[in-house]
Symmetry: D2
Subunit: 138 residues, 4 copies
């Protein structure tokens, strides 16, 4: 029951080597995470305006297994791996026709968007993510 | 009956001014055009591999009326304005909640992707675009 | 005496067609304009913090004459064409080995970065740009 | 004696959070690596056309310590950490005014750009990189 977001590969995503340019997978991952937030009822804008929090990356680890190409439809499977008071670990798996192309694991820090300082995730929000994590099942 | 493609605005599309960065509309436009091609049964890849043609921009004219922002859902309305033997004019209108934000008119040239030289559009392909143009109606 | 800014073409600037992706020229143009501002002593940050103004595009017109490719060194020649109280017209010419590849003419509006509303350019700033424009001379 | 490449932060590199968008550091890193290649006499184009090889990322590990902002000048320090027959490890450190902002370690695979299959680095090229690595000294 992982969150699935589809991305078609356009010219803008490719490079002269004929493959998806490597930094684009981080962009696809952000799109998938944002859609997941929207489905959970807490968009990026709502988080800022109503909760006074934003997420920023504190680290990312990317494994490139095989390149995606023009016109490929990429399934971006997103899962929440760990939820702490002021951070979260998420994994994005990129597949084309069921074949794993790229895996990204990112650590997100919770910050106050005004001063960029770390803050704790409110209990309510934390629960929302924990419920989502549980719903992903085994 | 214009072709409609939806884009949500993510952090990657915005800049420190809090608005969508101006070159991103060209990227959104390419996504919309590519989806239109897919719906017409002639994706970018098929055009190259089966027809031996590709489209490249020969000009673009962009009017920025009002900025889109984080989390906005942009409707990209794409229409074919003119079809010639070796070129085509398309218009993309970007709206948020019915309000016109940006208009792009682009001229596309038909080329041979191997040597980038201009070629004529095959009669069959030309008809496909003309049928699409008609279906847009008044 | 036009302002010259050099850009080397990397993989990130190209697409699967083997050429520089068309929206990248707008990005190169912004880099050139920003460097021009820095040389004039008024960087983007200074404009916001000290003058309370920012520039946003109100229109862009792009002519693609010939594509640039991987490893090309592009000369971006920037000139100020017109200066008004609340807007400015600039031209960017992109050359590789003296051959003209792309021309962009953009119109910039002067805004208050806080509410994105149009404002007038202060007399001092206007003079600075007019002096620059004159220095381009014939 | 690490290779140093300077990047100024423009609007195109930032997001609505007021900081450099996280995937941009991979783009800055590619620019720095490409400039290093040019200085070594083996540009991306030469590698493809004369040596029949290209580099692709097989993994990347990114640590985000502190965000860079509009108008910051980032020093990208690039060093070669390890050279093998068909791969290489490089490190990019991003500093603003001497303060470390981001660290990226990437593993590059050597491939044949025609079929994207792994190939060995020719002895000559390997030596070139080993000499460079030595010149970085302690």
């Amino acid at each position: 029951m992982k969150h699935n977001y589809k991305v078609r590969v356009y010219y803008q995503d490719t490079d002269a080597g004929g493959i998806v340019y490597h930094s684009k997978y981080l962009d696809f991952a952000e799109r998938a995470r944002s859609e997941l937030l929207v489905e959970m009822g807490v968009s990026n804008k709502k988080l800022i305006e109503e909760e006074g929090v934003a997420f920023v990356l504190s680290s990312a680890s990317i494994q490139y297994k095989s390149p995606a190409k023009l016109d490929d439809v990429i399934d971006v499977e997103t899962s929440v791996k760990e939820i702490k008071n002021a951070s979260m670990v998420m994994e994005h798996r990129f597949l084309v026709d069921g074949q794993l192309k790229v895996v990204i694991e990112i650590k997100l820090a919770v910050i106050n968007p005004k001063d960029l300082r770390p803050v704790r995730l409110k209990e309510e929000l934390k629960k929302l993510f924990m419920n989502y994590q549980e719903s992903q099942g085994e």
